[in-house]
Assembly symmetry: D2
Homo-oligomer: 146 residues x 4
Amino acid sequence: MDADTDPVEFFDRIPFVDDLGIELTDASGGRAEGRLELAERHTSNERTGVVHGGVTYSLADTVGGAAVYSTVGRSTPTVDMRIDYLAPATGEELRAEAETLRVGAGVATVDVTVVDESGTRIAECRGVYKTGGGDGENVWQGNRGE
Amino acid sequence: MDADTDPVEFFDRIPFVDDLGIELTDASGGRAEGRLELAERHTSNERTGVVHGGVTYSLADTVGGAAVYSTVGRSTPTVDMRIDYLAPATGEELRAEAETLRVGAGVATVDVTVVDESGTRIAECRGVYKTGGGDGENVWQGNRGE
Amino acid sequence: MDADTDPVEFFDRIPFVDDLGIELTDASGGRAEGRLELAERHTSNERTGVVHGGVTYSLADTVGGAAVYSTVGRSTPTVDMRIDYLAPATGEELRAEAETLRVGAGVATVDVTVVDESGTRIAECRGVYKTGGGDGENVWQGNRGE
Amino acid sequence: MDADTDPVEFFDRIPFVDDLGIELTDASGGRAEGRLELAERHTSNERTGVVHGGVTYSLADTVGGAAVYSTVGRSTPTVDMRIDYLAPATGEELRAEAETLRVGAGVATVDVTVVDESGTRIAECRGVYKTGGGDGENVWQGNRGE
């Protein structure tokens, strides 16, 4: 993968990001922002319109990865992520902001906050991404010591 | 929501579960199983075909919730979830098995393992779901003490 | 337990808090602060003097619990906690600040930041505490639906 | 640090491990076991005798690190750890068993189960340890890309 690829362009080319409707709006210097326009297909309940937790997570994991990508210049697989749900999402949009807490030669630790269009905090996430060991493909081999 | 609803029927009616292609295959007695047939739209990289972490998470969160639903008989929002990625998913299918480690009056703790069709372990997840305080709607109010 | 007990007094009576040397300095309105004076017995390596991760965690879990106690007025067992280590602690003191992100009828979600005396961030923690179901004893029975 | 050091000897020399009373009983091939004899000083409440969560965590983090050490042959700092408390510990002893789920060139993922002397499951933990980038000292520099 080309380390000079613009993060926004790189992430907008990801099939699942496109399929889900995630739009990466900014990524530079270890910070990133993205948004997702909500539709009925994103919900866990037609009647209540509450968004499925997997949608919120997918936005957070993507924007968190973009924050790391923006500082290390290559694809960085997620090692682990924790998400804490703080309020049900029933609005028209989710917005995520990510920042790196630490970027190391081996791993980076990232915080991601997800809010709705009114600024209500929907979820807080914290995760670790792999920064070393090659690109998005062989980093996994590296992860497994192969 | 009807506490007597069959878990498999209940989860198969969830819009995002249907949109992503998750199939809940079993849920009873605090255990649940589900599967997801992988397509290019689920990937994070067209060339490598590696599945996006949000897809793996969405399957795990859904099957984990089904395990809790199967024992408490109602919708149980996720409070928090951790996912650890162990290998890249590049196969044709993801399979998830969930079991409750503890089911309490307030919360349940759940383990979910995700494998591919060859049995390779793709991810391990552990999460907490809300079991008390009403149904999928007002449980959140309950969560916020309202 | 008396819900009117001052949080600082209550936590300073905890045997392990006293044994480890944790001092709770403030707890009110869903926020708490504490400190720990470091000694060689707290380290994971005599030569480097790096503090053992269990010491940092113990301070964080205690101060996080105090933040919840300060708002719900009773002992609140930890359901789960994640700690991310950001830098090795080699100084003379650890300081922790905790704040509740959400306080519900069933559970509370809490953030805790641990720094050393120079302000270097040593660890970030996020956890869920049980707020309902009785006091520190029978809450566990409640947790297990007994 | 000497990569040939026996893990049990290495961990028994850790000041906090000795101070808390943790005994590492076995560590080889990516698995480790340890125990802790409980005393009043370990409790969070004299009256109930429930063990402080920091004690359970400290045992788990130590035994988890020993499992990684046993396979990579050197000190491996904890990157992050999640602990889920499943039952209150009020017995005479805690026992921990750890196994590596994945050991990579950069990080290892580990599961740790903590039980009491009757076999009651007290806590489940999952964490990531740093396996690359030098020894217990400069691995942190590596972590911070310095």
